[in-house]
């Protein structure tokens, strides 16, 4: 199986910026949504919960949210697949719909915090960066030296 991402840097730069919402609910449906009139219309600032906090509701469920930036060094993209793969081995092709640098994150009746699964998961971005950062010869030497010294201290 192979996955083809059907775009390049050029159309990535030209592509339109999307206004996205991260919802605390799973919608079992696919199609256009009247986001502007049924949702955006009702977003209110709620300074009583903290600066930048906004409130709204989805099907009567209270939502509390805030604007979030895509982590530095990353770019948010939305991909679309016209045909659902029939089996795991089929080749897939994903088309670029739009890009985003920020979006609105919503919690169900809970002020967004570092305890939210989304923010916890994003720590992975920092870890991944630390893991993939090149290590210089020099760094290695100092680390070995430090190790040796601590061993010595332990044994003595």
């Amino acid at each position: 199986m192979s996955i083809t991402l059907d775009f390049n840097g050029k159309n990535l730069a030209k592509s339109k910026t999307l206004n996205l919402h991260f919802l605390p609910a799973k919608v079992n449906g696919d199609g256009n949504a009247n986001v502007e009139t049924y949702f955006n219309n009702y977003t209110h600032e709620a300074p009583e919960y903290g600066s930048g906090v906004v409130t709204n509701a989805l099907r009567g469920y209270p939502l509390v949210g805030n604007r979030m930036q895509v982590p530095e060094g990353y770019k948010g993209i939305v991909l679309q697949e016209t045909e659902k793969p029939l089996s795991e081995s089929t080749d897939r092709q994903l088309r670029l719909t739009g890009v985003f640098d920020e979006f609105t994150y919503w919690n169900y009746d809970k002020v967004p915090s570092n305890g939210d699964p989304y923010r916890q998961a994003l720590l992975m971005a920092d870890v991944a960066q630390a893991l993939s950062e090149p290590i210089s010869e020099e760094d290695l030497e100092t680390e070995i030296k430090r190790n040796r010294e601590s061993k010595k201290e332990n044994s003595s």
Partner: protein
């Protein structure tokens, strides 16, 4: 009152119901309700997804003489539109004015009669010099979100908070309250106890059908009911829906017009416009059939029981083929990360 006046009020009524003609008035913000005519435009100038409180001027006499205060609500049952809480007050000795106005059981009065009395409360000198009123329009959006909180807040709690909030506002505005009369649908005892704890210095009476027994409650009831009716008439849909003459029926789930409105105005993703109380079972059922299924991040109802490491855990380390099952890395698990692709 003469017939000609009666007709005039009816005519006013029609312009309000019309909506479009009163548009000019709605453009500038209306801060004061001085008659029935300004009620609709006032409501229309407020944001209908949030609660609105309005207090009339407090007559000087209500600040000096001991007053009675009545509390009642309108629009508790309907699946559409706001619920309105109303209070009215006047000196204990001015009871006759209420009777002269015709404040009696508001459910016995026709809509027109209620409108006329509401207009007189605000315009006639003998009435507005001795009595005042206030309403809170509790938005259907607020009703839904309160009832769907993680820590559910029942409609009764919303109601009591609103009633106590209005009484507090009257106190803050300088009304010299001595007696409070409250109409209730639920058991009066609990409600009475709660009110007495909050306002220990007043003589408080909570009763079923207080609306028909105490004229001051009837007056509150009229203010609430007239406000609710007008709120529906001037309702504008931020969703952009246009319903001719805002004809969505009484809002009671049994009303065929309301039923039709509910079935014909479903948005697949967002459900209904926010005129609808999503927390009503009628609304929930309609959505379960017609709109996309939606699963919320529900509150955790059960805490995992912890009884130490199970002994059998040590035998579960391999699959039938003898492959070692590796437990997910704790760092990833705690951060809700899992691999979607086998390497």
């Amino acid at each position: 009152m003469s017939d000609s006046e009666d007709i005039k009020i009816k005519a006013e009524h029609e312009t309000i119901a019309d909506g479009d003609q009163s548009q000019d008035e709605e453009m500038k913000e209306i801060l004061k309700i001085t008659s029935l005519k300004s009620l609709g435009p006032f409501i229309a100038s407020q944001e209908n997804s949030q609660n609105t409180v309005y207090l009339s001027d407090v007559p000087a006499v209500c600040k000096e003489k001991p007053c009675m205060l009545g509390v009642d609500e309108a629009g508790r049952g309907p699946v559409l539109g706001p619920m309105v809480y109303g209070i009215s007050y006047c000196p204990v000795e001015s009871k006759q004015a209420l009777i002269d106005l015709g404040c009696a059981d508001s459910k016995q009065l026709t809509e027109e009669k209620r409108d006329i009395i509401f207009n007189e409360i605000n315009t006639l000198e003998y009435a507005n010099s001795c009595m005042g009123w206030a309403v809170e329009i509790i938005s259907p959006n607020v009703i839904s979100t309160s009832m769907y909180r993680r820590a559910k807040c029942s409609l009764n709690e919303v109601s009591m908070e609103s009633a106590m909030g209005l009484i507090q506002r009257a106190i803050d505005a300088g009304v010299n309250i001595a007696e409070v009369y409250v109409d209730t649908v639920g058991p009066p005892e609990k409600y009475q106890e709660k009110l007495m704890r909050r306002f220990p210095s007043f003589k408080i009476t909570v009763a079923k059908k207080a609306d028909s027994t105490y004229p001051i409650v009837s007056a509150a009831s009229i203010c609430a009911k007239v406000t609710r009716d007008h709120a529906l008439k001037v309702w504008r849909f931020p969703e952009g829906l246009v319903i001719k003459d805002n004809a969505f029926g009484s809002g009671y789930p049994g009303d065929p017009v309301t039923k039709r409105f509910l079935t014909e105005n479903i948005d697949l993703v967002f459900g209904f416009p926010r005129l609808v109380r999503f927390s009503w079972s009628t609304a929930e059922n309609a959505l379960a059939d017609k709109a996309y299924d939606m699963e919320f991040d529900e509150p955790e109802t059960e805490k995992p029981k912890y009884a130490g490491t199970k002994l059998t855990k040590f035998f579960k380390g391999t699959t039938k083929e003898g492959e070692v099952i590796r437990e997910e890395c704790r760092f990833l698990k705690q951060r809700h990360l899992s691999s979607v692709h086998e390497f």
